[in-house]
């Protein structure tokens, strides 16, 4: 079986509103107001053939964005196109696109009251690149019997089934939306290993959405951060890491190196202080830091993500 060409995606000024409500206003007229704006003018390019982390606080619009790519939903306005470079089209009701995009949601999307094998057979029937051997091996690894009914599975086991479907579908665009919920640590780490191994063997585009940023950031090549329905940033993970620097050392030396930089985080232990500052250090500053005994470190993506998406009122 030949590996299909990885899919990318592009969103232009996408707005998604869910539901509506009618309200009585002052002049006794009733107006229709939007109940929820999940995405508010989101524009973004997903590069094909890389693992991209999709980060955002609860309600930031991550799941909505991912559901647009898999044609689970349509934008209220704006455009969404999905496909290999040079052949990207609207995914809505396009069987070529939908059969090549696999979105695995936290809910699993299985038939609860029939044996798991029924759901897996359905996926296998529809997915052109389905790897039944891989599915079987992963289910063995996660200790899940295909004779079990999904409704009887624990949350962690159900998540493991979702992860199995995501990998075994070998879809050119594989989207894993919070599939690790409920998995215990050994299962999660086994899953991360499987993702990397399968990605190396069958390169494709993988989107990972997770709140466990610290755990999964090592997988990311690119990062998208959503905040209140908008795309805050979309860039290589190294660029994101370069948005901040960590300085650890004697308080006075660290304070001098900090200069006018904005401090994102600060921890103090006796005379030693560890701060995270905004922006990268110049070569001169690095040399000065070394001379002053200040250690320069990389900033975890999670710390930057927390800072970038901090509610406005909480900003320093």
């Amino acid at each position: 079986m030949t590996t299909p060409e990885p899919f990318g995606a592009r969103l232009d000024d996408v707005v998604v509103r869910y539901g509506s409500r009618r309200e009585l206003v002052n002049d006794s007229t009733v107006v229709k107001r939007d109940a929820t704006t999940a995405l508010d003018g989101a524009s973004l390019t997903i590069r094909p053939g890389v693992i991209t982390g999709v980060l955002g606080r609860n309600g930031a619009g991550k799941s909505t964005l991912l559901s647009l790519l898999s044609a689970f939903a349509r934008p209220t306005s704006g455009t969404v196109v999905v496909g290999p470079e040079g052949a990207q089209v609207d995914p809505w009701e396009n069987a070529w696109v939908t059969s090549n995009v696999q979105l695995v949601r936290e809910s699993g999307d299985l038939i609860d009251d029939e044996k798991l094998t029924e759901s897996l057979t359905y996926y296998a029937d529809l997915r052109p690149h389905w790897d039944a051997d891989l599915a079987g091996r992963l289910l063995d690894r996660f200790e899940i019997s295909t004779r079990t009914k999904p409704g009887a599975l624990s949350r962690g086991k159900r998540s493991a089934v979702g992860a199995t479907i995501g990998l075994a579908s070998r879809a050119p665009l594989t989207i894993l939306d919070e599939v690790y919920l409920g998995m215990d640590a050994p299962t999660r780490y086994a899953f991360y290993s499987e993702v990397l191994a399968d990605y190396a063997e069958h390169p494709r585009t993988i989107l990972l959405s997770s709140h466990l940023v610290e755990e999964v950031e090592r997988l990311f090549e690119e990062v998208v951060v959503l905040d209140r329905g908008r795309v805050l940033l979309a860039e290589p993970v190294e660029d994101m890491r370069a948005r901040g620097s960590s300085l650890t050392g004697p308080a006075a030396a660290v304070a001098e190196l900090k200069g006018d930089r904005r401090v994102l985080q600060e921890q103090r232990l006796g005379g030693t202080v560890q701060i995270t500052v905004e922006g990268a250090l110049t070569a001169e500053e690095r040399a000065a830091a070394r001379a002053a005994g200040v250690e320069i470190g990389a900033v975890p993506v999670q710390d930057l993500f927390v800072h970038l998406t901090e509610p406005r009122g909480a900003e320093r």
């Binding site: 079986m1 030949t2 590996t3 299909p4 060409e5 869910y18 999940a38 799941s63 909505t64 991912l66 559901s67 044609a71 689970f72 939903a73 349509r74 290999p84 040079g86 052949a87 009701e93 396009n94 069987a95 070529w96 939908t98 059969s99 090549n100 995009v101 696999q102 979105l103 695995v104 949601r105 936290e106 809910s107 999307d109 299985l110 038939i111 009251d113 759901s119 359905y122 996926y123 029937d125 529809l126 997915r127 052109p128 690149h129 579908s169 879809a171 939306d177 919070e178």
Partner: protein, 267 residues
Amino acid sequence: MSTRQSTGGRLVADERVQLARAAHRRAARAVRRNVVAVFGVVGGWFWAVYAVVGIAVPLVVSGAGGEMDRGIFESSAGSPRWFAFVLGIIVPAASLTLHLAAGGTRSAFTAGVARGAAVAGLGFGILTVAYIQGERLLFGAIGFGWERAAGLQAGGPVPDALLTVLTEALSVTTYVLCGAAIAAGYKRFGVWSGTALVVPLLVPIALTDLATRGGVGGLVLSNVEPSGDAMAAGEIVLGLAGGLVALGLAAGALHLLVRSVRLRPTT
């Protein structure tokens, strides 16, 4: 299967169209298989129980010295149709999300449900004829009079049987599609608007009942004007045409409701 072209590694538009068609066919086939499998198993059980009741009731009535002036099939106002209607609600409601998650399109889902419903309808039509013949023989054996007051009748055992298969197939398919449309309506519009849609979605059911003189409509008509003997060819054609219109309405409603279903995020 290879989807990568040797020329530049890119799929050309024609190949994408072909792959889309193949994907559509695969998806519609999977839905049809699912619908047929459920009707085969659950519908099979329904008919088994229905047959047992159909045999037991006349025997009990006969044993008690009573008599029945109408068979179970007509008295129950086409309960197999309503059973098919309920399955029509349940099966799509249970499988639409899985179908979309597995990469199927809404149009493939509609096509698969329609084909599955047609197969189920044909199966129900054949079983209806078998049941009616069995009921007629049983009634004769225990000394009860038996005649069909409902349904389109051509006058003659074989034409009648063929007409019954056809009208039941049309009607059951319509019932299944209406049930599926109701499920799609709830999925598309939520509880309140979905409930409001139930009434208009019962129109094709009423139409097929009246046109084919079966189900509740057939029971009502048979009380007013029993079918009795052979009908005029024009009347039969009109009935079949009415059944086809009802089927078209049900299929159209299903298509319209399914094509815009959105799956909201679960987190």
